[in-house]
């Protein structure tokens, strides 16, 4: 069975860069690493189906050299679907992690501070869920043209969320420069800025 050298090299490079990126601190990079490794593995499965350029279709009397093995392609399809689902979940996890990280040191403690600082946490959580709702609405409405009122509402809620964060930072003023409390994954861009 002969296989394509190019594919092997591509696979190796994807594995190497995937592992490298996976070891980074930032969750978005971890996601990229996961995607690279997942697709490198898909290439590895593809490599087992034999010489490139044949269709995975068999006809009576064909020898194995004349068609590609269809099973690896079926396996890859399944693997792609699984990777797709996991990626969707990881994105949700990253979003949540980013949201918690925006609050800096307080992000981790919000729930536990619920008792003593109820108003703050409630505000933040409600604005977070408003944020989510707005996102869902935007997704639902993506087929139709977004009418102006929807967009206005969306912007307003975004603004409320920002304000809540600003409040949280102002109210909590003297924050410790967290050493081990550092938020999970570096929040993209504006997380660190206050």
């Amino acid at each position: 069975m002969s296989t394509s050298l190019v594919l092997i090299v591509v696979m190796a490079v994807m594995y190497a860069s995937g592992v490298y990126v996976l070891l980074e601190r930032s969750l978005t990079r971890v996601l990229i690493g996961f995607l690279l490794i997942g697709n490198a593995t898909n290439l590895l499965i593809l490599l087992t189906s034999g010489r490139a350029g044949r269709a995975p279709i068999w006809d009576r009397g064909w020898t194995p050299e004349e068609f590609a093995d269809p099973l690896p392609q079926a396996l890859i399809l399944t693997a792609i679907v699984i990777n797709f689902g996991v990626t969707a979940f990881l994105l949700a996890l990253i979003y949540r992690s980013w949201w918690l990280a925006r609050l800096g040191d307080q992000g981790d403690q919000l729930v536990l501070e619920h008792e003593e600082d109820k108003s703050l946490s409630e505000e933040v959580f409600s604005s977070a869920s408003e944020d989510d709702d707005a996102l869902n609405e935007a997704l639902d409405a993506s087929d139709e043209a977004l009418d102006a009122s929807d967009e206005a509402a969306h912007m307003e809620e975004e603004g409320a969320a920002e304000a809540a964060v600003a409040d949280a930072r102002a109210g909590r003023g003297a924050e410790r420069d967290g050493e081990d409390d550092e938020p999970l994954g570096s929040p993209p861009g504006k997380g660190g800025a206050s």
């Binding site: 996961f34 499965i45 087992t48 981790d108």
Partner: protein, 527 residues
Amino acid sequence: MSALVPLMVLVPLLGAAAALITGPYPRAQVAISTGGLSVTTAISAILLFQADRDGATVIEVGDWPAPWGIVLVVDRFSAIMLLVSSVVLLSVLVYAVGQGIADGNRETPVTIFHPTYLMLAAGIYVAFITGDLFNLYVGFEILLGSSYVLLTLAGTGARIRAGTTYIVTSLVSSAFFLAAIAMVYAATGTVNMAQVAERIGDLPDTTATLLHVMLLLGFSIKAALFPMSFWLPDSYPTAPAPVTAVFAGLLTKVGVYAIIRTETLLFPDDGPGGHFRVPMMWVALLTMVVGILGAAVQADIKRLLSFTLVSHIGYMIFGVALSSPLGLNATVYYVVHHITVQTTLFLAVGLVERIGGTTSISRLSGLLKRAPLIAVLFFIPALNLGGIPPFSGFLGKAGLLIAGAQQGGWVVWVLIVGSVLTSLLTLYALMRVWNMAFWRSRAEVEAGYRSTYINTLVESPDDEGEVRTGASTPRLMVAATTGMVIVTLALTALAGPLFALGDRTATEIADRDAVITAVLHSGGADG
């Protein structure tokens, strides 16, 4: 009767869909999920009876003949695992329902919990009944995907942080497993486990060793074997109590199950790529000793139990590495014992947390007087895990040690000493929990008593040093825990028949040719 096998997976999957649709009606959801899991429990009991009487059932899914289509194989070992996991899943579900009713679903948001829990069940069942490597991968992914959701329920900071470790580790292990499947396919041209087993004999030793190592790497991360066990104590304890209980009981055991299949069916010791027995024994020893030393310094009961969980995986690997029928027999018994007892302990600790408001033993006290029933529910499985006769933990360990002593060799004797030490240290760690959380008087804690001894304990990183006000302990939660305690006691009472069943199971697993013939050359199952 063979139509029952696919139902094991279909019922939870359809139940998950139905539970998702009935999201706004919590009662309907509870009815669907408890009903679904009761059905699978009944089916798995029938399957076990059938497998023990008539031998393995082989189902060709979609009637595609064996090497081409996917086969489902239910032999005694699969059926035992199915029955135990069904019982555990059902009890934990009842416990979770009790907790959800009491807390107004704050900790376990029911709308997501029930469908995900049923998906988890479906994934576990697939992993146990499949006779196809790629299908095993799919089963793993179903159960892992559900476990990601369950572990990060409610998305609090601590859970997201713990979940991230768990998820990234699991992704890596899945990548290993999938790459291993690709390599197995490249080398043998099949992913049907029986056919792989048949063809692996023709492979050169180096190729077979590579495949063996790749598969073991993937499975050992899931089973939390020593160098790859670091993720477990960091991720399990932060989840809601029922979720931790079911994860601790079942998820690692799915990895152990896969390792047992790999070692017995695919890579027997005398075939190409075998000769892994001695390295596995060292891994088992390190898993036991390092795990239990971690447990010995923990102040948080959930973390402590997670470390003992890692540690006791070592016993099962020890039994697999012995590869004598008696060793396998003891391993099967030990797996069953450990699933039930570890789940029960986590359920009991969930109750302790509700009464005491914390799980740190440096702040818990006087629980024996405050809640004698819960104290008993903790004490019995604790003694059991510590290996005190006449409980099943003792019987399982005794079986392993006898199997080891019969085999002999200095490595085995080192392991025997290691497992006895581990057992004693388990008892030490658990009795310390008993002494501090249950037995010492409340006044001692209120007076702020500290000692160098207490100061050496390591608190959980998520510990905030506070004691929440106690919550109620609903009858349903206590009933579920009591039920599990009774199951662990039944393992002792029925040890004779169970060891006899384990013996037949071990003989069946060890007979590779019979498995291969049953799957490939029997001309398919009767419809």
